[in-house]
Symmetry: C2
DNA sequence: GACGTATTACACCATATGGGAATATAGTTG
DNA sequence: CAACTATATTCCCATATGGTGTAATACGTC
C-alpha cells in the first residue's frame, strides 16, 4: 500500500529525475547539511564549505528554484533556510538503503571491501 | 521531527549523492516503473521502453550494482526485479515535495513581485 | 560616491548519456 | 559439436549536461 504508483507521466518523470539530480551533488548536500540547524547567510555558508561565493550562490539559487530553500534579506546579506524538510527524510532513506545494499563500486568508497557474489 | 543526521562524512556524502544521481535519470526511473509490478526480462523491458538492448542492459547493470535490483536467470533470459523497495518511498516523497514546491515557488514569485515592483 | 555582499555572465573542463557496432558469455536446441 | 537466442560487455564517438572559476554586474548600506 505504501508502495506507490510510479505510474507517472513523462513530464512528471522528468520532474522527479531532475529533483533527484538536484540532490545528486555533494556540494549541494553539504549546503543543505549546513542549513539544517538554521538559516545562514551566503557568506557564512561560503566560509563553512570553503568554496567560492559565485559557486555557492549558484547552488543556492538552484535549490531555491526547486523550492527546497527560502531566503530573506537582512541588510545586504541574504539568509537562506530550509523550506522543504522532506529532503532530510529523503537523505535518511537513502543513507539506510545505501549502507544496507552496496556492491562493487560503492564498497570501495565506504572502505568495506566485501567480496560477494 | 525526523530531524536526521546529515552529519555525514565526505565519503558518505558522496555515496548519497551518487545514489541520488543514479535515480536522477528518466530512463532508469522508467525501468524501475516498469519493474514495479513484478520481474521482467531484459528483452521485455527493452521492448516496453523501446530502447536498444545494450543501453537498457547498461542501466540495469548500474541499478543492480547499486543494490536496487536483483536478477535471476531462467533459461537464457535474465529477469530483473526490485530488490530495494525504498526507492518507491523515495519517489513518493519526491513527487509530493515536487508538486508542493510548485505552489511554493508560485506564491513566492508573487510575493517577490509585489515586494519589488 | 565607495564599500560589502550577492548574483549573473561567460568560458572551461569533467562527466555521462545514447547510439552503433562488434564481440563475449551463457543457455538452449538440433 | 554446431547453430541459435538472449544478455552482457566493450569500444568509439558525438553530444549534452553540469560543476567550477574568473570577471563583470547588480543590490543595499554607509
Amino acid at each position: 500500500m505504501a508502495t506507490v504508483k510510479l505510474e507517472l507521466g513523462d513530464k512528471m518523470l522528468d520532474l522527479v529525475a531532475r529533483r533527484f539530480r538536484l540532490l545528486g551533488d555533494a556540494t549541494r548536500l553539504r549546503i543543505l547539511q549546513c542549513l539544517e540547524p538554521g538559516e545562514q547567510s551566503v557568506g557564512e555558508i561560503t566560509l563553512r564549505l570553503s568554496g567560492n561565493q559565485p559557486n555557492i550562490s549558484k547552488h543556492l539559487q538552484a535549490l531555491y528554484d526547486a523550492g527546497l530553500l527560502s531566503r530573506r534579506r537582512d541588510g545586504n546579506s541574504i539568509f537562506y533556510s530550509i523550506a522543504d524538510t522532506t529532503i532530510f527524510e529523503l537523505c535518511d532513506l537513502v543513507c539506510h538503503s545505501a549502507t544496507k545494499s552496496v556492491r562493487t563500486n560503492y564498497s570501495e568508497l565506504i572502505g568495506r571491501a566485501r567480496k560477494r557474489r
